[in-house]
């Protein structure tokens, strides 16, 4: 009776799945690599056990020595699974037959009872490997669940903070993308994807169909996010050029992910969330429109009030009546103030609507400072104003109007928060491709902790809230307008407050300096 055939069968030099080991592209498939690796680890173990047993046998004569081979069998079963374990079992049985059972150095065995080793080993290999595989798959599953829960948690957290439909869609897109590892494009059915979400025209065309079908040519997969809620839109997943069966499995995985995702979306009540987000953004638009139209409606009568007051102030009848002329002055002043407040509201609306666009042009910074000062002409006294403008200031490249409005706000603040009879100093000096304008007052200044907040929208210094009126918009507008022009602003605590403005002053290019010679 021979075990020769079995032994050859288990020979590691002829791995069983050799025929399928190579794919068309020449790379060795992952399971084959694993198999070779398992053999490389376990067969030396069999050899080691054999060596040990030979050593032991020299000292003591042991019966049923072959059971020692259960050790490599179990190791192979736990680490590498059934096939390597069975091969190791066969190797172990063959080794004991060859080395330890009569006749020695021959695969034949004299005692048929010793043949029982083989089925015993195979059973051990099978059962152990099954148990190990089950334990392993449980562990993998638990790990996968944990990962999914983590991404799901991140996903729902993003949904919870989403303020508009776009946030929600991009959360969905990122979620599906992270679960499939593919590029994902999403669009709500009535829109087309944006320029950076470029998809081939065939995909776009296919996405417009209802029910959604996959575009021809492969590479892309189209799925509505939800079968019941078409308003969630369609996902296009670029699965890439994958061949045959692999493509099918990728497809199934994506379908599974999408099924999960759509269930999650319904559970999280995305429909309502999108609706609410839309409502919020509409409310914002409405608010902006309201401010815009109210401001306009308020300005028209203001123009009449200011104009009429100015006529009264010049009327000869009133010139001889200083008290009445004073009243006309009050009307004019207060109307001007109201006009400034409305202008600030309009500016704030422009900033939040992100419709501030800068028209950059070469400008003399001194002109901007003078324009801002001229607008405050009636409010400068009794404070003393000192302007120190360096004679060699380079030209700045900014939006003159936006910069003027920014300086206006800063000067206004300096006037508002400094005592009468104090000095406000405006200094302009050149500094490496910039013009620096410093506006210093002798007011109470701000607290150190407030430094980062005084340029915030609606922020008003704690010590001024009770004593001065204001909206807290001024410095916020100043910063936004300067930023639009490529400038910036900072505040430091000096004797009072010094607000420093940087305006970009790039050097004139060679072509720009050509016409400057004076004949």
């Amino acid at each position: 009776m021979g075990l020769q055939g079995l032994s050859t069968l288990g020979s590691p030099r002829q791995p069983l799945p050799a025929a399928s080991a190579r794919l068309s592209d020449g790379r060795v498939a992952e399971p084959v690599k694993r198999f070779i690796y398992s053999m490389a680890v376990t067969l030396p173990l069999v050899a080691l056990v054999t060596l040990c047993l030979v050593g032991v046998k020299l000292v003591v004569d042991l019966q049923h020595i072959s059971s020692a081979y259960l050790i490599p069998v179990m190791i192979a079963a736990v680490w590498f699974g059934m096939t390597p374990a069975i091969l190791v079992a066969v190797g172990g049985v063959a080794s004991s037959a060859f080395f330890f059972y009569e006749p020695i150095y021959d695969f034949r065995v004299a005692d048929p009872a010793q043949l029982l080793d083989l089925p015993l080993f195979v059973v051990v290999a099978t059962v152990t490997s099954q148990l190990a595989a089950r334990a392993r798959s449980h562990a993998v599953l638990a790990q996968k669940r944990e990962g999914e829960i983590r991404t799901l948690y991140a996903f729902s957290k993003r949904l919870a903070v989403a303020t508009n439909a776009d946030d929600i869609y991009s959360a969905i897109r990122d979620h599906v993308s992270s679960m499939t590892g593919c590029r994902v494009v999403h669009w709500a059915s009535e829109e087309t994807p944006g320029p950076d979400d470029a998809v081939p025209p065939s995909v776009r065309l296919a996405a417009m169909q209802i029910p959604t079908i996959d575009p021809p040519g492969g590479g892309w997969l189209l799925r509505p996010i939800s079968a019941v809620h078409p308003e969630f839109g369609v996902l296009a997943i670029e699965i890439g050029k994958v061949a045959g069966s692999a493509r099918q499995s990728v497809r199934q995985r994506i379908d599974a992910v999408l099924a999960d995702a759509s269930a999650t979306l319904e559970r999280l009540d995305i429909g309502r969330a999108i609706g609410e987000a839309k409502l919020r953004s509409e409310a914002e638009t409405l608010r902006e429109a309201l401010i815009g139209s109210v401001s306009h409606d308020l300005r028209t009568p203001l123009a009449s009030i200011i104009g009429s007051a100015s006529v009264l102030l010049q009327a000869p009848a009133l010139m001889n009546e200083p008290r009445l002329a004073g009243l006309a002055g009050v009307i004019s002043e207060e109307a001007q103030r109201l006009n400034t407040d409305i202008q600030n509201l309009l500016d704030a609306t422009r900033i939040s609507a992100k419709s501030v666009s800068a028209h950059l042009a070469w400008t003399d910074a001194a002109d901007i400072i003078n324009a801002a000062l001229d607008r405050h002409r009636n409010h400068l006294a009794p404070r003393q104003f000192i302007t120190e403008i360096a004679p060699d200031l380079p030209l700045v490249r900014v939006d003159a109007m936006l910069t003027e409005r920014a300086l206006l706000q800063i000067i206004h603040n300096a006037i508002k928060f400094s005592p009468e009879q104090s000095t406000i100093r405006i200094q302009a000096s050149p500094m490496r491709e910039a013009v620096v304008i410093a506006i210093s007052d002798e007011g109470k200044g701000f607290e150190f902790e407030e430094k980062d907040r005084i340029f915030d929208r609606f922020y008003r210094g704690s010590r001024h809230r009770g004593t001065t009126t204001g909206s807290g918009l001024g410095l916020w507008i100043a910063r936004a307008f300067l930023a639009a022009s490529g400038g910036r602003v900072d505040a430091t605590r000096t004797d009072g407050t010094t607000v420093t403005v940087w305006l970009p002053a790039p050097p004139l290019s060679e072509s720009e300096t050509q016409g400057l010679s004076d004949e």
Binding site: R299, A303, S308, H359, T387, G515
Partner: protein, 233 residues
């Protein structure tokens, strides 16, 4: 002999604005005609003797720009526009179309009167062929090509004088960057605003007492420059 009053045509759809403009102009001895729409304004401008037009840009029937164009097609009457818009481009466009100056709503009567008077003065002095323009302490003799400050001759380079000349021809009214660039450097340099900045600075050093706080050659931010002197400054 009784000189006929200067007559002004106010075109604005807001009755309250027309009311205070009428009061303001009549106090200063002007005769006032009112129009509530562009069509009526153009009709009155053809029927009546009008020396000055005050034109609101936001009219119900047509936009102000086309009114300026229509008026300019047959009349050189000075036009001052009332603009609510803060858009500098819009103002520049109207000035290029032939408006003489602008004021931004809300405005005071004194400001509008100063602009209107400057435009009227330019027309009469052009008609009379008077070559001397006076702006505060500055005197520019366009015929002799010389400028004096408090009767002291100012040495100007040819380009500086051309710049001053272009401003002096419209003394009291704004001249846009483009107009100045075209007149001094020629059409190809219409958009090289930095030339203008640098030459204005040079010119101010020669004619202003404090060049960093100009009192004669004033900047209209985003639009152009204006030669005007306010003794109360």
């Amino acid at each position: 002999m009784n000189k006929p009053p200067v007559s002004v045509l106010v075109v604005d759809d807001e009755i309250q604005i027309r009311r205070f403009l009428r009061a303001g102009f009549e106090l200063e001895g002007f005769a006032v005609h009112e129009a509530a729409s562009a069509a009526e304004g153009i009709r009155l401008a053809t029927l009546k003797t009008v020396n000055l037009v005050i034109l609101d840009l936001a009219l119900p029937d047509t936009d102000g720009a086309s009114v300026v164009e229509r008026l300019r097609s047959w009349s050189g009457v000075p036009i001052i526009v009332l603009s609510v818009r803060s858009s500098e481009d819009e103002k520049v466009r109207l000035l290029e179309l032939g408006a003489d100056d602008y004021v931004v709503k809300p405005f005071g009567m004194a400001e509008l009167l100063a602009r209107g008077r400057a435009a009227l003065r330019r027309q009469t002095s052009t008609a009379a062929g008077d070559p001397v323009v006076r702006v505060g302490p500055l005197t520019i003799d366009l015929a002799d090509r010389k400028a004096t400050i408090d009767n002291v001759r100012v040495q100007l380079t040819p380009k500086e004088f051309r710049l001053l000349q272009a401003l002096a021809q419209h003394a009291g009214n704004v001249v846009t960057h483009q107009q100045l660039l075209k007149e001094v450097w020629g059409l190809p340099h219409e958009h090289d605003a930095h030339y203008l900045r640098i030459f204005v600075r040079k010119l101010r050093h020669k004619i202003e007492r404090d060049p960093s706080r100009p009192r004669i050659l004033r900047t209209e931010l985003g639009v152009g420059y204006r030669l005007s002197y306010d003794p109360t400054d």
